[in-house]
């Protein structure tokens, strides 16, 4: 069996224009890597949205980052003030990674 190490997986659903802000917060928390996944549309308490390239205003991405528990904590703490104002959905779980020193 390949040796794997547990790390934290943080996923944040975020408005496209705000994604760079998240990358900055992650970097401040010591996390240097992330990946943005593309979404199509969604529905929540504030109604529906869908990808919208014309203004980019209603498009969203999933911001995915893998980090050590300490850095994940620091990142989440930095996110808390934005949760309500930015309508973020934040998910946290554990994954096994192969080269743990990267994250």
């Amino acid at each position: 069996m390949i040796e794997t190490t547990p790390r934290e997986r943080i996923e944040v659903l975020v408005d496209a224009p705000l994604a760079p802000r998240l990358a900055e917060l992650a970097e401040t928390a010591g996390i240097t890597g992330h990946t943005l996944l593309r979404t199509e549309s969604g529905r929540g308490r504030h109604g529906e949205w869908s990808e919208d390239l014309l203004s980019g205003a209603t498009a969203k991405y999933v911001f995915l980052t893998i980090a050590s528990p300490e850095r994940a904590d620091a990142f989440l703490k930095a996110l808390v003030p934005l949760l309500e104002s930015h309508g973020l959905v934040v998910l946290r779980s554990t994954v096994d990674v192969i080269r743990p020193d990267r994250f």
Binding site: A16, G47, S55, A57, L82, S85
Partner: protein, 320 residues
């Protein structure tokens, strides 16, 4: 009312109506986002080039400077004019008031483009330099809107925001192709005129088809557009447009350009401003400002505003 009929029965407006109809009938007709984005870039490049080429040909007098100044003032001031109505009549909180107000101070490129097409087809030609005024009016309203929303909280403007205001994609593309048009002139424009001049009205048709779909779908899925706010979204273009026509006439613009300044003042942004608001005022309700600017004001201007401000400009001219 001949003007009204000729507007209503022009191909671009009919395609817009087709989009509205298809969305209302819940048809699955849709134009991919990237195609729409591509068409909107094309329209901006084309209108910029054509304006620049015309300025290269006709030259500009002092009216360019006064038009730019008046445009700047209108974009910056209109948010303050509409804000009280949004708060008192519309019942919006400060954040949403600022966000919506910014949209009305700014302009809609496609409304301008449609007007210049419809006017031009009947020999009522807007001056080329009005494209520069269009670009000028895009972003000052963003600052006014943010000031309205945040005047009591601490920091007002971030560095990214100022970059957004000065180097916003639409502004750069409009002014950039305007400048290119001035540099290359009529001769240099000739090899690219099949794409940018001959193809123009056709692309506008397809783009307005998409705008009709988007505008109607906005209305259908909005949750926050009250009757009062919808009425304001009709009232604002009338008031702001009148203001624009009068200002244009007052500073001595030719009649079509005064009408165009009316169109610009009446129109509300749905590209540059929503993105800036999403970034700077994320708590504001995007569904609301898009429903007002795209769902109500945009159709109003395309269908009724275009003939209305022409009539107004002609009347104002006749009276001076």
């Amino acid at each position: 009312m001949d003007q009204l009929t000729s507007t209503l029965l022009s191909a671009p407006v009919l395609f817009f109506a087709l989009g509205v109809f298809a969305a209302a009938a819940r048809s699955d007709l849709s134009i991919p986002e990237t195609i729409a984005k591509g068409m909107s870039l094309y329209l901006m490049a084309a209108i910029g080039l054509k304006g620049g080429v015309e300025v290269a040909k006709a030259g500009v007098g002092p009216e360019l400077l006064s038009a730019l100044a008046v445009g700047l003032v209108l974009s910056a001031v209109i948010p303050f004019l509409v804000a009280p109505a949004l708060a008192k009549i519309g019942g919006l909180d400060r954040t949403n008031t600022g966000a919506v107000a910014a949209h009305y101070g700014s302009v809609s490129v496609v409304t301008f483009v449609t007007a210049s097409q419809v006017y031009g087809d009947t020999g009522f030609a807007i001056a080329g330099f009005m494209v520069a005024v269009l670009a000028m009016m895009e972003t000052p309203a963003i600052l006014s809107g943010l000031f309205l929303a945040r005047r009591e909280s601490g920091k007002l403007f971030s560095r990214e925001l100022l970059r957004e205001v000065f180097f916003n994609g639409s502004v750069v593309l409009l002014l950039g192709s305007f400048t290119i048009g001035m540099v290359i002139g009529e001769d240099g424009f000739e090899p690219i005129s099949p794409l940018f001049r001959a193809g123009f009205t056709g692309v506008l048709c397809l783009f307005l088809l998409d705008m009709g779909l988007i505008a109607m779908r906005r209305i259908l899925k909005t949750r926050s557009l009250t009757l009062r706010l919808a009425s304001l979204a009709v009232l604002f273009p009338i008031v702001n447009g009148t203001l624009g026509v009068l200002a244009g006439t007052f500073i001595g613009l030719d009649t079509p350009s005064a009408a165009a300044l009316g169109i610009l003042s009446a129109s509300a942004s749905y590209i540059a401003v929503p993105a800036a608001m999403r970034m700077s005022l994320p708590q504001a309700d995007a569904g609301l400002y898009l429903a007002m600017s795209l769902g109500v004001t945009f159709p109003f201007n395309i269908v009724l505003g275009i003939p209305l401000f022409r009539w107004m400009a002609e009347t104002a001219r006749a009276m001076t």
